[in-house]
């Protein structure tokens, strides 16, 4: 498994200085705090979390769009965090990004053709080659050639996201980072884009890092999922295990908070978490989730749990995850069926 890893992120850290009034009260905030994971070639790796969890900052740091203060990111044998200047610019053809809001991520003054051709500027290619590639990539995202001359405001949200995807695909990257690619779209359009992303992965073998707050979407599209809370990963697991037996109490609460669309058949009630995530400025000394944890124990406020690795490769940061009679479980929460008991 390790030898197929395309993207490896080791101990990534991003700090922001937040200035108070008049430059006083400077705080250093760790928006991303020791994040490590790796993505296998051809897989989709999801990061879920609430706002302020650091999921988007993680994506931007991997894309080298914000500066990582610590840690190492490698794509194949290339260490992205070491690249500078021209070398970084040229390397960008191997990793591209799709942004959340297709209404703001496309330059309003460029025709669709020029938006998509922008990344080709770095690959000294003739215009003739470009024309062929543009036509091909437009077809791949389901747009017609005559739409290439239109301006972004003449497209609907879903079509704009197709253009954004075409732009990310045109340099034939190995990795595409998708930052909430469907959350700005109308519900009926989301499925079109999700299915398109799946088809493109199937056809081209591209690897996705998929950032989302929507657990349904993440379940639909991701092979592995990391759950982030306050800049840290609290649980990483393959899809099948995460949704059948979540080990971290935060994962469990997150899953239970999603409203279910089938009336009457709702098997469990939501664990209503108390309050909202504490501020990053003064993090608790113990487990970062302790204040809101429905099953908090005295020991949780004393020492932070390590992100321990379990036999099947999944990792979880909770003091109470143990192997018992051959199966791994959280001794405090048990499995999904415990949601009802906890409420």
């Amino acid at each position: 498994m390790i030898n197929q890893a395309l993207l490896t992120v080791q101990d990534l850290e991003v700090e922001f200085a937040s200035k108070g009034a008049l430059g006083r009260n400077k705080h250093v905030v760790k928006a991303v705090n020791g994040v490590s994971f790796s993505i296998n070639k051809g897989d989709t790796f999801g990061i879920v979390g609430e706002s302020g969890s650091g999921k988007t900052t993680t994506a931007l740091a991997i894309m080298r769009l914000v500066r990582a203060t610590k840690g190492k990111v490698s794509l194949g044998d290339m260490v992205l965090t070491d690249l500078q200047g021209e070398a970084l610019r040229r390397a960008r053809q191997r990793f591209q990004m799709v942004f959340q809001d297709p209404f703001s991520s496309l330059n309003p003054r460029l025709r669709a053709r020029d938006v998509v051709a922008e990344p080709l500027a770095m690959l000294d290619k003739s215009n003739k080659d470009n024309a062929r590639e543009l036509e091909e990539v437009f077809a791949q995202v389901g747009l017609r050639p005559e739409q290439m001359d239109l301006f972004p405001h003449q497209f609907s949200g879903g079509q704009r996201q197709r253009i954004a995807l075409a732009r990310a695909l045109v340099t034939r990257p190995e990795l595409i980072v998708c930052d909430e690619p469907v959350s700005a779209l109308d519900v009926a359009i989301q499925a079109q884009i999700l299915n398109l992303l799946k088809r493109i992965q199937h056809d081209l073998g591209v690897t996705y890092l998929f950032i989302s707050h929507d657990l349904g979407v993440v379940q639909y599209i991701c092979d592995w999922i990391a759950v982030m809370y306050l800049g840290q990963i609290v649980e990483v697991a393959p899809r099948a295990s995460l949704f059948s037996y979540p080990l971290h109490p935060y994962t469990l609460s997150l899953l239970s908070a999603v409203p279910s669309a089938s009336p009457g058949t709702k098997a469990w009630k939501a664990i209503t978490l108390k309050g909202e995530p504490p501020s990053l400025i003064n993090l608790p000394t113990g487990c970062i989730f302790a204040d809101r944890c429905p099953v908090m124990q005295p020991e949780c406020q004393k020492s932070p749990p390590a992100l321990q690795e379990l036999p099947d490769g999944r990792r979880v940061a909770c003091h109470f995850v143990e192997e018992k009679e051959g199966t791994v479980q959280n001794t405090l929460t048990g499995g999904l069926e415990m949601i009802n008991v906890l409420v």
């Binding site: 609430e50 706002s51 609907s156 879903g158 109308d186 519900v187 009926a188 359009i189 989301q190 499925a191 079109q192 999700l194 299915n195 799946k198 707050h213 657990l215 349904g216 979407v217 379940q219 639909y220 599209i221 899809r239 099948a240 949704f243 059948s244 609460s253 997150l254 899953l255 239970s256 908070a257 999603v258 409203p259 279910s260 669309a261 089938s262 009336p263 009457g264 709702k266 098997a267 469990w268 939501a270 209503t272 978490l273 909202e276 999904l336």
Partner: protein, 326 residues
């Protein structure tokens, strides 16, 4: 049971230099105390316009051209503006998607709730202060004294929405209109806000009109549902009936096009079905069913004429030629 709010054949038109379009076309529904009605549809389907029409807060250029809105026997459609002002915030109030823009940034939230009370009640200063404290406490905010003197930007999104709810409930309204109240919030905070709304409803018997695009939210919160498409009513009925046996292809599309979270070990990997295309521009809609161009079951009569709303089973109506087959 007597309905508290009744909307009868409501039409809203928008007039511009280039012509006029019908934003809301012949919408009827009513709602009982202590019940929640969900209005569902894609953006541009007219659900927010319907809500704004009920509050008589339509944007410039949009007017109610037909229909009657009745609140507890009083027709709101031809009420003078001065009397309408007394109703807004008192018998009927509204909360919005982004609480930041609906709160005034230069006043503390306590002052803003007090202002709402001053406008609609004749309580004296002392009582208003007490009431403000009670209201802030009632929306699940613990450190009341400190929070009431906070300014909107000092509060989190979830906290601000709680303040909006406190403000909306200040005068115990008969109807609360909530326009996508949790779309800007995280799921765990959304769960808190909904459980708060449910508790408050149980205590005050307020009728809630909930505007949303999320069928999960509908299932969780609502008793009845209306589905709108291109300004028209596509389907109407109890949530139970509509979600378990959707009769309009658009309703079924809305349910199936979202990857719903599945828990447990036997997850289906069925691909979500797409609704092809986009909502047509309102000025291009002809005589037929506006959904026909995106509908898999579309046939000749769909293009030719708009189907009437017809009953598929008791308290479940649909506007579709194919409703039996669907």
């Amino acid at each position: 049971m007597m309905s508290v709010l009744k909307v009868d054949h409501l039409c809203v038109d928008y007039r511009s230099r280039t012509g006029h379009i019908r934003l809301v076309d012949d919408i009827s529904f009513d709602i009982q105390p202590n019940k929640t009605l969900a209005i569902v549809g894609e953006s541009g389907c007219g659900k927010s316009m319907t809500a704004l029409a009920m509050m008589r807060l339509l944007p410039d250029g949009a007017t109610i051209t037909k229909g009657v809105i009745t609140l507890q026997g009083t027709s709101l459609t031809d009420l003078p503006e001065a009397q309408m002002r007394d109703i807004r915030g008192a018998s009927m109030s509204m909360i919005f998607q982004e609480p930041m823009t609906s709160l005034n940034p230069v006043f503390s939230v306590g002052e803003q709730i007090a202002e709402a009370l001053r406008l609609h009640t004749d309580l004296d200063k002392k009582h208003i202060q007490d009431k403000v404290q009670t209201l802030i406490g009632s929306v699940g905010i613990s450190d009341v004294g400190q929070r009431s003197s906070a300014y909107p930007h000092e509060l989190s999104g979830g906290m601000r929405q709680r303040i909006m709810i406190a403000m909306a409930l200040a005068c115990s309204p008969k109807v609360l209109i909530a326009d996508e109240p949790t779309t800007a919030l995280d799921v765990t905070v959304q769960a808190q806000i909904f459980s708060l709304l449910r508790d408050l409803q149980a205590r005050t018997s307020t009728a809630i009109v909930l505007i949303t695009h999320d069928m999960g939210v509908v299932a969780e919160m609502a008793d009845d549902i209306i589905v709108m498409y291109a300004g028209r009513l596509a389907e109407r009925g109890s949530v139970e009936a509509v979600l378990s046996r959707p009769a309009h292809p658009y309703t079924r599309g809305l349910i199936d096009c979202v990857p719903h979270l599945q828990l447990g070990s036997n997850i289906s990997h069925k691909p979500v079905t797409e609704i092809p295309g986009v909502v047509p521009a309102l000025q291009t809609i002809g005589a037929g069913c506006p959904f026909a161009s995106r509908c898999g079951l579309s046939e000749e009569r769909c293009e030719a004429a708009m189907p009437e709303l017809s009953e598929v089973r008791p308290s479940h109506q649909v506007a579709c030629w194919n409703s039996q087959e669907a």
